[in-house]
């Protein structure tokens, strides 16, 4: 397509200056993710994959290197501008759902629109649409504690999508879910990626989840050690359009 990369990291680094010895969480990561990609980020605990996610989600700031989101150099932004980028360009899905307690599904999904300054009636309409899109159109008024884990994660996905971001970031989105629910959520991601053209970057440590993606980026000790299609021996937990046995053999 030749369009601007959604994510462009050049020599990206993050060093935590805790205690006497600085801890290098991320060293020299150079990576591009283009619109419409479905990327799985894998690696052991402490490999730097979560740090990478936090950096591209603008929840944390890099200590070195360059990071462009949708063409914008986000390392140069002030906190307010970063908040605005989080609001408009990135949708975040967390392992622990991170929904507001005692707040209805609809209001949770409205949250990004609230901070985008969208008027109340438009907020409700857009949030309702997003919840319908993830199959929760019947549960708008439910509180998180009245929903199953999978449903809560769907609410979180609706919240991530409601502002029509360029990028959906998911940090272990299925980590707290059973295998049936995991498959439902993965199908939702695939559907969003294939049918709505949403770029998905998903952190996971499970190979069958990672195998659903079209591209796997593996981190180790803060560096990218592998970047390519999912290895053939990984069996995806759901059928995906791009994953055929022949491809797997070639890979």
């Amino acid at each position: 397509m030749g369009s601007t990369p959604v994510i462009e990291a050049v020599a990206l680094g993050k060093v935590y200056a805790t205690g006497d010895t600085p801890v290098v969480a991320l060293a020299d990561v150079t990576l591009q993710v283009h619109p419409g990609e479905f990327v799985a980020v894998v690696g052991a605990s402490g490999s730097g994959k979560s740090t990478f996610m936090n950096l591209i989600g603008l929840l944390d700031r890099p200590t070195s290197g360059l990071l462009r989101l949708d063409g914008v150099d986000v390392a140069q932004l002030n906190p307010n501008q970063r908040a605005s980028v989080r609001n408009h360009k990135v949708g975040f899905v967390f392992q622990g759902f991170n929904l507001l307690r005692r707040t209805s599904a609809l209001e949770n999904v409205e949250l990004p629109l609230l901070y985008a300054g969208i008027p109340a009636s438009a907020r409700t309409a857009a949030a309702t649409r997003a919840l319908q899109q993830v199959g929760l159109g019947e549960r708008l008024g439910h509180m998180p504690n009245q929903l199953s884990g999978g449903q809560q994660q769907r609410v979180a996905i609706a919240r991530a999508l409601v502002n029509q971001p360029a990028l959906l970031l998911a940090d272990e989105p299925t980590g707290n879910l059973d295998s049936t629910t995991t498959r439902e959520i993965l199908k939702l991601f695939v559907d969003l990626n294939v049918n709505h053209g949403i770029t998905v970057v998903m952190v996971t440590h499970e190979s069958d989840v990672a195998a659903v993606s079209r591209r796997v980026v593996q981190f180790k000790d803060g560096r990218v050690v592998l970047d390519g299609p999912p290895p053939a021996e990984w069996t995806p937990s759901i059928d995906v359009p791009w994953h055929t046995p022949s491809q797997a053999v070639v890979a």
Binding site: G57, L59, S84, R86, N98, L100, R102, L114, Y115, N163
Partner: protein, 407 residues
């Protein structure tokens, strides 16, 4: 975010923990209620005193023969016989800063009208009394100089006496007997109500001074129990007191070092003194209330700090989906202000209630001033802004990633 959204959010969060909110705002409630009740009481007391003093007559100066002081034993006011009729005549002649002076001697008598009788106080005084005391008749007239000169046996009844003796009948031209002497009723005085000392000023009968001297005074014909004088205007009251003091001291041949053997009191001074007392009381009670507001504000700050800590994760979530530091700051600030404003509103209500119950129970006059209520409410809101700012800023300055990871 719109103000409506912010307020709705604040009310919802506060509503989730009602017991905590109630305890938090208790300090504000007590502070505001105290301010409202105290100011209502203070204003009422001030107005009460002012109206009582006004009822005594404007520019009024009271002359009482000296408090006697014999070997340290001091008699009460009027206990000595140091002022006589000639002193009053001299004051009338010589003091230019007074427009009127009227002696007033009195005693307790039983007054009889037909088969009704009533124990009251008879006062012998000159016609100047009515203008000095600013006291007029509702019915009939007051007695005249002619009545004085002719020693006419006429009387003017106080409202209470008229009612006790004649009920609803018209007392004018009826006859009453005081110490077996028949008097013709020529007037009924308007009602003055309670004196500042609490006695019923309407429970009195006034007769001409000359008649009093001849018929009531017995052997003490020349002694004066009290006299009322009017200064020529309010600004001359002090000068009048000084002038009269000088004349009386000279007439009584008092040496420089000797104390006055009489006392002259200027009602304006008494009024000012009592106003000062009630003002400083109000100020004192107001500052106690202010301290209570301060403590209430600290309570709000404490609760907001706890709330910010508890809701660190919520703050992280909000920041992750795009809340700016300012959005978080405003959210928590609005919450603090809503809390303290609730306290203020409840406090205004309880203050008003306390003032009402107090005046019902004790009969004290209380005046509820809506502008004070509005002020107290506004101050409680300001307390919320002031004490809510620091916790709100702490919330706003959280780092999104730290807040999200907070367990």
């Amino acid at each position: 975010m719109s103000l409506f959204t912010l307020l709705r959010l604040a009310f919802r969060v506060i509503g989730r923990n009602k017991a905590r909110a109630a305890l938090t705002v208790l300090g504000i409630v007590i502070g505001v209620a105290a301010v409202i009740a105290m100011v209502a009481l203070g204003t009422g007391a001030q107005q009460n005193i002012a109206s009582q003093i006004a009822a005594l007559g404007s520019n009024l100066i009271i002359i009482i023969p000296g408090t006697t002081n014999v070997a340290g034993v001091r008699g009460g006011g009027g206990s000595s016989t140091t002022v006589d009729v000639e002193d009053i005549d001299a004051l009338r002649r010589e003091v230019k800063t007074i427009s009127q002076i009227a002696p007033a001697n009195r005693q307790q008598v039983q007054i009889v009208a037909g088969d009704a009788n009533w124990g009251t106080q008879v006062q012998g005084t000159t016609p100047g009394f009515y203008s000095v005391r600013d006291w007029h008749t509702d019915q009939g007239t007051t007695h005249s100089d002619q009545d004085e000169a002719s020693q006419n046996k006429v009387c003017v009844l106080g409202r209470t006496v008229a009612t006790e003796l004649f009920g609803r009948e018209d007392p004018i031209d009826k006859w009453v007997r005081i110490k077996k002497v028949p008097f013709r009723v020529i007037g009924v005085l308007s009602s003055k109500g309670q004196s500042p000392m609490g006695s019923d000023q309407d429970d009195t009968v006034i007769i001409p001074f000359s008649v009093y001297r001849a018929r009531m005074a017995g052997t003490q014909r020349d002694q004066i129990q009290s006299a009322y004088a009017a200064a020529i205007d309010a600004n001359s009251a002090q000068a009048a007191v000084d002038d009269m003091t000088a004349v009386l001291r000279q007439r009584h041949h008092l040496r420089e070092s000797a104390d006055d053997d009489f006392s002259i009191r200027n009602l304006a001074d008494i009024a000012a003194a009592s106003r000062e007392v009630s003002e400083s009381m109000t100020l004192l009670l107001g500052s106690i209330a202010g301290v209570s507001l301060l403590v209430g504000g600290i309570g709000i700050m404490n609760t907001m700090l706890v709330s910010v800590t508890e809701r660190t994760r919520e703050i992280g979530i909000r920041m992750a989906v795009g809340a700016k530091a300012r959005d978080i700051l405003i959210q928590f600030l609005v919450e603090a202000v809503v809390l303290s404003a609730i306290g203020g509103a409840v406090g205004v209500f309880f203050g008003w209630l306390a003032a009402r119950l107090l005046s019902d129970a004790t009969g004290w006059v209380t005046i509820f001033d809506p502008s004070i209520a509005a002020l107290a409410f506004a101050v409680s809101g300001a307390v919320g802004v002031f004490f809510g700012f620091w916790p709100a800023r702490r919330a706003a300055q959280l780092d999104p990633i730290d807040a999200l990871r907070y367990e």
